[in-house]
């Protein structure tokens, strides 16, 4: 491969990329991010590959990242010349031959696509390219376009712009989508100060949790004394249930790399690190390959775009400790020391990695940068909310129909995310709350469903943005039990350096366990509140500093549930085993025998067609009968 030194070189690579992105023949893309692989995409890919070869079909098979709709994985996209791109959900290896036959016949009879895309959009270039001549064959008119699917309709993809659309291993396809043109513009036509100004104007705030303005951080780091400076990408992503950064690193690694090169040039750094947890093997692999490719093209290394600017990136693998996502612990870990935070009275932008000025940003923060450079800070600032510009990627999981990754403008009402995009709560149950901000975030109750999701609104509601995890809960969720669960996670992830966090959080867990076990005492809630304040004030780092949030927010919005546990020995949601009893409502029970079948201890009994009973002594309150009863005849009280 020859190096890319000029705009012409870049355009040439883009042309090559376009030729594989929208080829002249038929192309099938399999979503092979971790979310796809977990649902069997690997088998689907191999089955398609085998069939294509055996039948000697003239079809290009390629891999791509995730479009975010995890509940429809494995996702297979088909792009035939002159036709819209079709997305097929829940494809299995068994369905592979049928799908190929259907393509050969030019029908959608047996397997229906669930949406179509009429054009290839590029947010970086600010334009779309229609597939073929843009006409939609009559038989495809019934298929909704991607914009008509509720899951995608309200999404605006900037950070995840290429995920699920390009082959993450193809730098040319990335370039075809406008990739590295932001870098070209920055390095060849802008002064570092002007780049920083643009990023400040964009209003971009850190997506890793704190929401600190990225441009200001860059500026401080640029102005810090020292010849050697570092730029670092935080890909630790330790929140349980969160995987937006993974998706970007897997599906569009160059967006992170390009962002980092631009940042490095603006700050005056020549060494970059990407810190990724080892539990993300595909992210590590794809980043590694992307770095290699960028080096081959001369986009990393010496004299980038003939500008005299040198920069390279190394990947460092972490062992998967939540606390290692904290900036000072991450830097300690990069240095090879134990991942323990230190007090930040001395700022890492001045004294960070190896005591040198270091600029740390989150994966999603970096991925936004190329778009800001090509489209301008003003454009970015025009998206989203006043003090929270741009978009945010959320992983929406839990009791929600459409589990997946969504990217929406900041300020999108919570209601839109839960109901329109998420498709609401399954099995007709009632939405109760959503936990945002990861384990140390807070629970937003149903009554705040109209809340506009941005940094400040979440903070006011007693929660936070965190890295963008959203766990949806229904009315069968006990809020005390939820607080206990998160506190237990934080207890085990505390680094153990300082006393309030190490000792305090486990004592809070003890008390919460007692409450869930029916051993709560009068004054426990007040004690939890006092302890929370002391732990927030007294902890060394933000892990301890935010650990009490799940407790405080559940007390704030669901105090009655705490009281029911402590004063009445009752778990209103029917979760805490020590406080509930399972019984059969003899009126509604049809005696179908389902509960007898699923009960692991034989506690559910009864004659066929006669109302059944549950023996309290042998019942372990596992909930199997509750899940299986079609007639809602199981009572939990």
């Amino acid at each position: 491969m020859s190096k890319i030194n000029t705009l012409e070189d870049l355009n040439k690579a883009g042309k090559r990329g376009l030729a594989t992105l929208i080829p002249s023949g038929t192309k099938i893309m399999v979503g092979m991010a971790t979310s796809g692989i977990a649902s069997g995409a690997q088998d689907v890919y191999h089955a398609l590959d085998r069939e294509i070869r055996e039948r000697r079909l003239d079809i290009i098979l390629s891999r791509t990242g995730s479009m975010g709709m995890d509940c429809m994985e494995p996702l297979v996209d088909v792009l035939e010349p002159g036709k819209p791109r079709l997305a097929y959900g829940k494809i299995t290896a068994k369905k592979a031959p049928t799908l190929l036959e259907q393509i050969a016949k030019g029908t959608i009879e047996t397997i229906k696509p669930f949406y179509r895309m009429d054009e290839e959009e590029s947010i970086i270039l600010g334009k779309s390219k229609r597939y073929g001549d843009g006409s939609v064959p009559a038989y495809l008119k019934e298929i909704p376009t991607i914009k008509e699917i509720p899951f995608y309709a309200k999404q605006v993809k900037i950070a995840t712009r290429n995920c699920g659309l390009i082959d993450p291993e193809s730098i040319d396809e990335y370039i075809a989508k406008g990739g590295y043109s932001g870098l070209y513009k920055a390095i060849t036509g802008m002064k570092p100060e002007a780049i920083i100004k643009e990023v400040i104007a964009s209003g971009l705030r850190g997506r890793g949790g704190g929401g600190f303005p990225a441009g200001i951080k860059w500026k401080t780091c640029r102005e810090a004394k020292g010849d050697v400076k570092y730029v670092i990408c935080n890909g630790d992503e330790g929140d349980p249930g969160a995987y937006m950064d993974r998706s970007v690193m897997e599906g569009d690694p160059h967006s992170v790399i390009e962002g980092m090169i631009i940042g490095a040039f603006a700050i005056g750094s020549h060494d970059g690190y990407i810190y990724v947890r080892n539990e993300y093997p595909l992210a590590v692999a794809n980043l590694g390959k992307a770095i290699e490719k960028a080096r081959e093209y001369g986009l990393l290394g010496k004299n980038i775009f003939n500008s005299g600017f040198d920069f390279d990136i190394r990947i460092s693998k972490g062992a998967g400790a939540f606390v290692c996502g904290e900036s000072t612990a991450l830097m300690a870990s990069l240095e090879g020391a134990a991942g323990e935070p230190r007090a930040k009275y001395i700022h890492t932008v001045e004294h960070g990695l190896w005591n040198r000025p270091s600029n740390l940003n989150n994966v999603e923060t970096w991925a936004n940068v190329p778009a800001i450079l090509t489209r301008g800070g003003k454009w970015f600032a025009g998206i989203g909310a006043q003090n929270s510009t741009g978009t945010k990627v959320f992983s929406v999981v839990g009791k929600i129909n459409n589990i997946g990754l969504v990217e929406v403008p900041m300020g999108t009402p919570l209601k839109d995310i839960v109901y329109d995009i998420g498709g609401g709560v399954p099995h007709g149950r009632k939405f109760k709350a959503v936990q945002t901000g990861g384990p140390s975030g807070g629970c937003i109750p149903e009554k705040l469903i109209d809340l506009r999701v941005d940094f400040d609104e979440l903070w006011k509601a007693g929660s936070m943005m965190g890295s963008g995890g959203m766990i949806v809960m229904d009315d069968r969720t006990c809020m005390v039990d939820i607080a206990r669960y998160f506190i237990e996670f934080l207890e085990s992830e505390s680094c153990g350096k300082c006393i309030p966090c190490r000792e305090g959080v486990r004592r809070m867990r003890d008390i919460l366990e007692d409450i869930c076990a029916g051993k709560g005492q009068a004054g426990d809630v007040e004690l939890l509140e006092t302890m929370s304040q002391a732990i927030i004030d007294g902890s060394l780092c933000a892990l301890g500093g935010s650990a009490p949030n799940p407790v405080l927010s559940t007390i704030r919005y669901f105090r009655d549930e705490y009281d029911a546990h402590i004063k009445e020995g009752r778990c209103p949601a029917g979760v805490c085993k020590a406080l509930i009893k399972y019984s059969v409502d003899s009126e509604t029970c049809t005696g179908c025998g389902m509960c007898v079948k699923v009960c692991p201890t034989g506690a559910a009994r009864g004659e066929k067609k006669q109302p059944h009973v549950i023996d309290e002594a042998t019942c372990t309150r596992c909930g199997a009968c509750l899940e299986s009863c079609k007639f809602d005849a199981i009572n939990v009280k």
């Binding site: 400790a321 009275y345 207890e491 153990g496 350096k497 300082c498 006393i499 060394l540």
Partner: protein
Amino acid sequence: MAKCIIDGKKITAPDGTPILQAARDNGIDIPTLCSHESIEPSGACRLCVVEIKKGKRSKIVTSCLYQVEDGLEVDTKSERVMNVRRLVLALLLARNPASEVIREIAVKMGVNPQPRFKLDEDKGKCILCRLCVRTCADIVGVNAIGLSHRGPSKTVGPPFDEDSSACIGCGACAYVCPTGHILMEEKVDERKIWGRRFKMKACDTCGRYFAPLDQLEFISKKTGVSVADLSICTSCR
């Protein structure tokens, strides 16, 4: 020089002075457990917290680490500060019920044990202040002990809790430990620390056993002075 106000008192201190020292130099007492004048502060115990005010914003910081600034207003005994200290002590009373030192500080500050905290039985008197670890590493220069595990199961000791071959038996860790957790047993010609026994060397002049042989060898290696020349105790030198 920085001019600031601590507990209403106008104070001037050289730039870079931690609030803790500036306060103590001016007769204001702040309790500490993990700070020591010859060791870099680490901010682990959080007992030394104070509330600072800069303009309208106030926050809690550790006085052993935070340095004086011009115009800083410091309150060493505000309600928020005392809430943190009370919790730290109540937590330590439950973690280290055997520690007299903790009990004394608690009594002095009027902190009672919190009945909702069950007493630990396995932590001894160790509060994980890490003074021992840093003394061994930074002052003795040996690195025989360290911290292992994470979170509540964090412990201090030689690697893998095995006899440390690096340890020279100098006892500096036991000396610096604020709670007396580290046991150092001495029999005439033998010393036991961290589970390992050390042969003691007798003074060539008075015959008193005064230092472990391993320690003298360590010093000898570092300084180039022969062990023979080091074999006279400080009182006879």
